[in-house]
């Protein structure tokens, strides 16, 4: 089969899956939050409310596009794109499963591409999504938006440091920046070879830093409703607002996938080294789904931090801990 066609099929399947998952995530957010608060959640549109995201999408499309007075129209329009596109691009390097053979056609490994610098690509492109927040906040010409944007971007670049240092620990253990190589190094059939057991502190810091990186509770200073109305997207309406949300949920899904890949062995099935690809895919979904659920679970459990507490945690706790972790990892690797 034409290799170009195969790449096209894989790309469309994975991106379709990502957007579908993001839509489902909005529904899951509302469902789980409802259940935790003894409510039912959306259950009117389709069976169990499954078509609710579709209804939301149609509603967003028919809403009026507003551009506030005195706002910079071009940057105002650019910001949602800058927020959504990097978050969606990063899924390209996530390895979902091993070699896929379907209907007698060999599709190769189930990921859009296995970049040699996969981790770097993910961090670099993911880091760009901060522009959507900061430019959206600035271009809205509103004090709430500006404050929300500034806060959120300060938070994102602060936690990106710890995040990258922690990723470096994992990279140092594997000796590769390729996410598939990192997965394969953990895929030994023994769950104890997963990085979560050799790097428990790194795992903890990573999970918490992902919450800050995606602007989720308890670190959602980008929105912070009681203080900033809705933060950087206060002035946004219609599909532009929806793009911000799409970006946020895609970033969450990618972060969940990344956590599963780096620390839980990605698609490696416990005690079954060379499982068929659909079992691997199911395993991967189970692991990533747990972290996606964790995002929701934490959001509806914890109150918001104060901004100074957040910065304290990021710079005075996580950064030294991450550095020390990297140091110890490096020392152990060079001694062993």
């Amino acid at each position: 089969m034409n290799p170009f066609l195969i790449i096209l099929i894989k790309t469309s399947v994975i991106y379709g899956g990502l957007i579908g998952a993001a839509a489902l995530m909005t529904l899951a957010e509302r469902k789980f939050s409802a259940w935790m608060q003894l409510r039912h959640g959306p259950n009117r549109v389709g069976p169990w409310g499954l078509l609710q995201p579709l209804a939301d999408g149609i509603k967003f499309i028919f809403k009026e596009e507003l551009c506030p007075d005195g706002a910079n129209p071009w940057i105002f329009r650019l910001a949602p794109i800058l927020s959504a596109v990097p978050a969606m691009l990063t899924v390209a390097v996530i390895p979902f499963a091993g070699n896929v053979t379907l209907f007698g056609v060999d599709f190769g490994n189930l990921s859009i591409t296995d970049l040699d610098i996969g981790v770097l690509f993910l961090v670099a492109i993911g880091g760009l999504s901060v522009y959507g927040v900061i430019l959206g906040g600035w271009a809205s010409n509103s004090k709430y938006s500006l404050l929300g944007g500034l806060r959120a971007s300060a938070q994102m670049i602060s936690y990106e440091l710890s995040l990258i240092l922690i990723i470096l620990c994992v990279v140092a253990m594997t000796g590769s920046l390729d996410l598939r190589a990192i997965t394969e190094a953990q895929n030994t059939g023994n769950p104890l070879s997963w990085n979560v057991f050799s790097q428990p502190l790194a795992f903890l810091i990573f999970v918490i830093a992902t919450f800050a990186e995606t602007n989720r509770h308890p670190f959602d200073f980008a929105e912070c409703e009681p203080e900033l109305v809705a933060g950087f997207h206060t002035e946004y309406s219609s599909m532009k607002f929806a793009l911000f949300f799409l970006g946020e949920y895609c970033a969450m899904i990618v972060m969940a996938c990344l956590t599963a890949t780096l620390f839980l062995g990605g698609y490696s099935v416990p005690f079954w080294e060379d499982a068929p690809w659909f079992i691997q895919l199911g395993t991967f979904f189970a692991k990533a789904g747990f972290f996606a659920f964790l995002f929701i679970w934490v959001r509806w459990t914890l109150p918001r931090f104060r901004f100074d507490q957040l910065m304290h945690l990021g710079w005075k706790v996580f950064l030294p801990l991450a550095l020390a972790n990297l140091l110890v990892t490096g020392a152990v690797i060079s001694l062993a």
Partner: protein, 187 residues
């Protein structure tokens, strides 16, 4: 295909670089500088330097430009208004300073032009062109070794230079604010 991508990226890089200088609004300048870095990363990628491209986006795009944006927003520089150009603008107010700035710009420009011309001679040689190296990422250990052994002093010196620049910017920004009488809104 690769050639076409290169020319598109190069055109975008040049246009946005011009945009950085010409834009009235500092935030627009920052955004066009960001686009410029992005297209430079594309050029690196086409030349086979995957690592350099990723680092370009990670460091310049992800970190440094965010700081620029922060500074621009926190200093609250408005766009230049038309009356500023009539001589009220501090940049063009002092003829001597403008002349000095022009001299530095000409010097820098000619230096980079010489560099480009010299590089172009090498480019004409049939090296591996824009093709991706087969081993891909294997050049990275060599790069790391060179950076942390042979060139560690220039590397550290560059970081000190950056630090000095940061401090200088802070000093300049502070002094400008101190000159402004309290209560008077700067344009």
């Amino acid at each position: 295909m690769v050639d076409l991508l290169f020319y598109v990226a190069a055109l975008v890089a040049v246009l946005t670089a011009v945009g950085v200088v010409l834009a009235r609004n500092p935030v627009i300048s920052v955004v066009s500088l960001l686009t410029c870095f992005g297209s430079l990363a594309v050029i690196y990628l086409l030349a086979g330097f995957q690592f350099l491209a990723a680092i370009q986006i990670l460091v310049y795009g992800g970190a440094i430009m965010v700081l620029f944006l922060f500074v621009v927003m926190l200093l609250n520089l408005g766009g230049l208004s038309p009356e500023d150009e009539d001589g009220d603008d501090p940049l063009f107010h002092d003829r001597r300073r403008s002349a000095g700035g022009l001299a530095v710009a000409v010097a820098l420009g000619s230096a980079s032009l010489i560099g480009i011309l010299r590089g172009a001679r090498h480019l004409a040689e049939p090296a591996n062109g824009y093709a991706l190296p087969d081993e891909g990422f294997d050049a990275l250990p060599a790069l790391a070794e060179a950076m942390f052994t042979r060139y560690s002093l220039p590397f550290e010196a560059a970081s000190v230079l950056l630090l000095a620049t940061t401090v200088g910017v802070m000093v300049l920004a502070k002094r400008q604010r101190a000159v402004t009488p309290a209560g008077e809104k700067r344009p």
